[in-house]
């Protein structure tokens, strides 16, 4: 059983080698601010594209906040990501209007094409799919977004085309 405890320790020890300079800079910037956890985490996410585990332990140590508490914050807010994300984020609107107009099939089409469902990322880190509530473009339902570009009145066929377009891009 003690081996198990050691395993947990090793899990933590064996964290990926990540350059912590950027995370340290973010922490330096906010260290004296009251209520600095959110901006620190946002800053780290901006620098790394997601929140690597080592940076959580670093922030815990330097801000004197429990790692468990930081993890609680990270899992509470949808804005934080604990795994690396794709270069292109495909947001599939699942709001009422899109839902009625068949958003489910659009989601399925992405699964078919890229093999990724909600909150999943392709292995080559090119695409991440996200099912979101409403992106405020109900007039164009069903709608998807790829990063900042919006594609309205989309069909399964058109989804495939959009995916191909981004696949071809770097």
């Amino acid at each position: 059983m003690t081996e198990n405890v050691q395993q947990v320790e090793e899990q933590v020890e064996e964290l990926e080698e990540i350059d912590l300079t950027a995370a340290n800079e973010v922490i330096d910037k906010y260290i004296d601010m009251h209520g600095n956890l959110m901006p620190v985490l946002q800053g780290i996410q901006e620098a790394y594209g997601y929140i690597p585990e080592v940076t959580v332990h670093l922030a815990a140590e330097r801000l004197n906040v429990y790692a468990s508490q930081i993890y609680g914050v990270l899992t509470f807010y949808a804005q934080f990501h604990l795994k690396p994300r794709g270069k292109y984020i495909i947001r599939v609107c699942m709001g009422t209007a899109c839902h009625v107009k068949g958003a489910g099939r659009i989601g399925d089409a992405i699964v078919d094409r890229l093999g990724i469902g909600h909150a999943e990322t392709t292995e080559d880190l090119k695409f991440t799919a996200e099912y979101v509530a409403c992106i405020g473009a109900c007039g164009m339902a069903p709608v998807i977004m790829v990063n900042d570009a919006t594609y309205g009145s989309i069909t399964v066929q058109k989804t495939a085309e959009v995916i191909e377009k981004y696949k071809a891009m770097d």
Binding site: M1, T2, N4, V5, Q6, Q7, V8, E9, Q11, V12, E13, E53, V56, A60, N64, Y66, A67, S68, Q69, I70, Y71, G72, T75, F76
Partner: protein, 823 residues
Amino acid sequence: MVNLTIDGKQITTAKTSTIYEAAKENGIYIPVLCYAKKLLPYGACRICLVEVEQMKGRLIPSCTTPVTEGMVVTTLSDEIRKVRKTVLEFLLVNHVVDCPVCDKGGECDLQDLTYEYEVVTNRFEGEKFDLPTDEVNPLIERNMNRCVLCGKCVRVCDEVVGYGSYSFINRGFETKIATAFDRGLNCEFCGQCVSMCPVGAILPRPFKFKARPWQLKEVDSVCGYCGNGCTVTLGVKDNQVQTIRFNEDTGVNHGNLCVRGRFGYSYVNDSKRLTKPLIRKGGELKEASWDEAFATITEKFKTAGKDLGIISGARLTNEELLLLKRVSSAIGTQNLDHSGGECYKGLTEGLKETMGISASTGTFPQVEKCDAILAIRSDFYETHPVFGMVINQAIRLNDAQLAVIADKRGKLSKLPNARTLIHKPGCEINMINALCQVIIAEGLAQTAGLQGITELTKALADYTPEAVAGMVGADAEAIKKTARELANAQNAAIVVAYGLPYTAYSKEIAIAAANLALLTGIAGRDGSGLYLCGEKANSQGAVDLQIIPGPAGLGAQQVLSTAAEGKLPVLYLVGEDPLVSYPDQTLVKKALEKTFLVVQDLFMTDSAKYADIVLPAASFAEKEGTFTNAERRIQRLRAGIKSPGEAKTDFAIFQQLLDKLQKTAPTTPAAAFSELTAEVSGYTDIIYEQIGAQGQVWGGETLVPVKKVLVPVAGMEPLQADYQLLVGSALYHSGTVSTRSKGPMSVCPEPYIEFNRDDAATFGVTTGEMVQLKADGVAIQAKVKVDNRLPKGVLFAPYHFGELGLNKIYKGQSVIAVEPGKI
């Protein structure tokens, strides 16, 4: 005070009370799930909703609502009943109702409430959780399918323990309690979360499927490990201690316990316990009768007379120590001592010289209300874990400023408001002197009634913060800040721990601390105090009862060195294993070999193997009597089980010894206590039968110094060596007894040598690899543990493990120069 009406009853209560507390005080029942007396109000579960006439139209959580003048409260009505039932229905939507196999069954708040509110059917339907059980660690099992999200575990781990294992993660229906990154629990295993959990979500693993709660006989006693004296409730079934439970309502230290207190009980039931007296015949220890053993011992003791040496442990009760003293005077020897003889000298010599007393001046509840605390040397979270929690409470509830003078960082350093003043090993006195210097130089000293201020001022001239900082590598500004805080605080505490691994300069450190306590007025001021906390459960009792050498007697160290020279005919060891725990193993070994050795213990200890007679003794769980803890609190032990085989309590053994020596002895611990109140100053007027759940503090909450003499004491030269080893106590262990307990051993099973990351890298070692330490030509080996709390060049090793042979190189010094090397 505030007047209000609850259920038609007129109530007067404190302004700070909540409705729930006011009701509880007056015997009015309101159900709760998330409320706990020692935690801040939370209001998560909504079970305690009540009606308040002035706030008609909505229900109010009674656990978070403060009382106001003229409030009219109804705690139960049809409406309230309906709402509470609905809350329970919601909880039961996804709660797995696996009561038949749940260890909590029978004392589960959710089960009880479901029964009370007759939640037979549920109007709601939903998915049951199907989360894996966390059973990665050996002590605490977490089954989150049973969780009701009251958050008590999260809060106790933060507010009291200060470890922060848990947090709420995710949102909405998916909310659950988890550790960082939702891994298996890997913490200090104090089990505070176990005691808080109202349902079967967090359970003690060693107790799984051992007994239903109602089958347990509960016996309130005192923890047998350290000097905190926490109340433990023995859960007894089949003459075995099946578990240790906590007593939140009336227990000392709020029912808080640490890993040793809660999980370190299995040694009591161990099959390796000694059950019969053993006598060495033909070179081998053979089972014998008590009569034979007593006959030989009496004869040997009588022949030895004044040359008999007696070394006792500090886990005997006061009554047993009284009888031991009687034995020693019946024989006519003054060679009586305890706990290695050196470590307690801070009390018997240091405080005696400066303040004329030999005990801490305040109590733990007073520490909780302090606004400045100075911890010296030991990390209390390791040596006295529950005292660490007391300090944490002072910080959380009172925003106390904590300063730590230490040679390594520890958990205290991680608390909010903590300022750690790291210094070179062995130089605590220099640091304390610097604090005194600042207080005098800045005119902050309270000099009224102090003797020796001129001499001290002169002696401290060289201890300016700058000079000391330069010498021992601390920060001068931090020293000044700390000194000012201590001098200006309304209530302040200075806390020092002592014990077998901290024997060096114990007298000098105590004197330096006493100087500081006198200059700041901390000693003897109500609410403030100087605390010297002993390592063992009855360390303070042993000092109170003067288990120390008489004027012509030899102390423990001299007894051993005399024995090593072959000049001590008989040595009587009572509950001590010096071969493992005393400094200088070579000397101890020689001593044990050359003398006629009588050992009285629970186990065949390393020292007992050298014995000519071994007497089987009883553990704390088998004893009646009293312990005096580090805050002078006298508490009663109650026997939960019978001793195995023919083993006897130390009380019974001494009684019969006295009988054989034709001396009368008190027949019961109660009778012994009333005799000792006549002998021990401070204990007068305390009546055994009247010692209640909270014990009785001798000398009052604040012990006033008899005199106030400042005594200059010189600092130490830092040791010049590239690698320096600190010896100390590990969190999971206490003395050597805990190494015979499954709980502590399952999480800290073997000795280790702690390295900081840089040093580990220098030697190319990582956690788990073997390393060797050489000192004075002697080498010891152990596994490496890499951590980030030690300064560079400083190593640490715990002293509890016989197999490490740490005392081959530890000879009582504060720090040891070592040469580490990879094997």
